[in-house]
């Protein structure tokens, strides 16, 4: 049998197996639909997303949620912020378990009201550039709940805080029914949510030593900041930079700009330790210690070590 024919047969076999597996998954986790009174949320008055999936409640649970919780809002973002973090006490984990009982939820600053309890579709976010893990609130579906009366209402107008009964079938407009329904989607969620949710893995807090940090980094740069601007939540600076020296990585990082802490200053030098990520970009190697400013006491000793390592 020629090599080409073998290759074609192998390709056909792979295609056949993939089709069988896909069919099996589809049969095992059939699509069920709950009709909301409005499929697409007239919720985002200032944020418009083009979703990966059809904008149904079921799809958002299955594909775009790492967790669904019932939680009470303890704190809201500071006044004047357009977006920020809410501290939310988790009353109940409906889909997956959150790592802690009080979590940080990210969203528009007027999304949730202090003291109220909500059912939230969340996407866990874990990245070295943020000082803590948090959960991003779903753009389309936010439900206010009243646990004693078992009632649930969907937020449909953010500025005016209008809530309506979410489902056409009144049987589902209760927390207990909705809970049961969401839990029935858990098997499909486990299979499918990994496709679109990134930044979920554990990140390394800090390297045990300078030597370990140097060893784990794919790219080590000495840069000077040329310009800088803050992102929406004010926790990160996106900077343009000049590379003064490359200690590791030989310029294949592909970054035209880098993320630095929000206090990054123009004309200041920084040592940056970066690792490559799955999609081809780079990010900080660790949560603490990957960006060292020249006024940091560690800067000179690290720089000396790096220069010595190149001799």
């Amino acid at each position: 049998m020629s090599k080409v024919r073998k290759l074609v047969l192998v390709a056909l076999a792979v295609l056949l197996v993939s089709t069988v597996v896909y069919s099996a998954v589809t049969v095992l986790f059939p699509t069920r639909r709950l009709a909301l009174t409005e499929l697409q949320g007239p919720r985002g008055e200032s944020v418009f997303g083009l979703a990966y999936v059809e904008p149904t409640f079921e799809n958002h649970v299955i594909w775009l949620s790492s967790n669904v919780v019932v939680g009470t809002v303890l704190t809201t973002p500071p006044e004047g912020a357009s977006v920020g973090f809410f501290d939310v006490r988790v009353e109940e984990n409906i889909l997956s378990r959150t790592a802690e009982n009080t979590i940080k939820v990210y969203g528009e600053s007027n999304l949730l009201t202090q003291g109220e309890t909500y059912l939230l579709l969340l996407a866990r976010f874990s990245a070295t550039v943020y000082p803590f893990d948090f959960y991003v609130a779903n753009l389309e579906f936010t439900f206010r709940v009243d646990i004693p009366s078992d009632q649930v209402q969907r937020l449909v107008n953010l500025p005016e805080r209008v809530f309506i009964a979410p489902f056409q079938d009144p049987r589902y407009n209760s927390l207990s029914r909705l809970r049961t329904y969401i839990r029935s989607l858990a098997p499909a969620n486990q299979v499918r949510s990994s496709q679109f949710l990134r930044n979920r893995g554990q990140v390394l807090e800090e390297a045990p030593s300078h030597a370990a940090l140097i060893n784990m980094a794919d790219h080590i740069l000495l840069i000077e900041v040329v310009s800088s601007w803050l992102n929406s939540n004010g926790m990160l600076a996106s900077v343009e930079f000049t590379t003064l020296r490359e200690f590791k990585g030989e310029g294949k990082h592909g970054a035209y700009s880098l993320i630095l802490p929000p206090d990054a200053k123009v004309n200041q030098r920084y040592l940056v330790f970066l690792v490559e990520v799955e999609d081809g970009g780079v990010t900080w190697a660790t949560r603490r210690g990957s960006v060292v400013a020249e006024d940091d006491p560690e800067f000179n000793s690290l720089l000396e070590k790096l220069i010595a390592s190149q001799r």
Binding site: V47, L50, A51, V53, F196, L197, R198, N199, G280
Partner: protein, 211 residues
């Protein structure tokens, strides 16, 4: 200094009639959005920025230009600027991880448009055949920020171009005032990912009437 003043005054005088006409309350002939809001972007100046090599500069430019050409079919002209401070539309591209870090609300979306500065300048009316007369809030857009990350792995690689064209055109539509989404899955302004890079009549007629 005097020259700058004269140029600025001239631009204001020339654009004032167009801005005023977009602001004037009127009865809309069609309305395809799922929220009772529409907008217009008087400056329509686009500043683009690639954060990393998620896109090649040539591809990124081509996708933005495709989107601009689509909206030009609706009679809505846009221009590119190099100075960010003069832009009313900022478009960021790059790898998904990088963009999600700077804008976490991008999670679960192939693209996102965020209204940064705007003003409610009045209300239009739309006589809906099924729901009766509706008041449609009209917003002037002073700054909209758009985030479009690179695509992940696709089974059919040729889908990448059309899907990217759809995303850029969709997000530019928001930046020009198409608020909310269409409920028709054939439209570019439908709210879910797909391959529909060409504006439909519904996409066009909805926004054109506010310019």
């Amino acid at each position: 200094m005097r020259k700058v003043f004269v140029i600025v005054a001239l631009v204001l005088v020339l654009t004032a009639p167009f801005v005023a006409s977009a602001m004037a309350p009127r009865t809309l002939t069609v309305f395809h959005a799922d929220i009772d809001t529409i907008g217009f972007n008087p400056n329509r100046t686009i500043w683009t920025y690639l954060l990393d090599d998620g896109f090649t500069p040539a591809d990124f430019t081509a996708y933005v230009d495709h989107a601009r050409n689509q909206w030009l079919r609706a009679g809505i002209h846009t221009s590119r600027v190099n100075d960010r401070t003069t832009a009313s539309i900022e478009i960021f591209g790059g790898t998904r991880d990088r963009l999600e870090q700077l804008e976490p609300r991008l999670i679960g979306n192939v693209g996102i448009a965020i209204l940064k500065r705007s003003a409610h300048v009045g209300n239009h009316t739309f006589n809906c055949p099924t729901r009766g007369a509706r008041s449609i809030a009209n917003h002037r857009i002073d700054l909209m920020r758009v985030w479009v990350p690179q695509r992940g792995w696709l089974f059919f690689w040729w889908q990448r171009t059309d899907r990217n064209r759809t995303t850029f055109t969709h997000e530019l539509g928001h930046a020009l005032g198409w608020f909310g989404h269409s409920s028709n899955s054939q439209d570019v302004m439908y709210g879910a990912d797909g391959m529909r890079p060409t504006l439909t009549t519904r996409d066009i007629e909805h926004l054109r009437q506010n310019y």
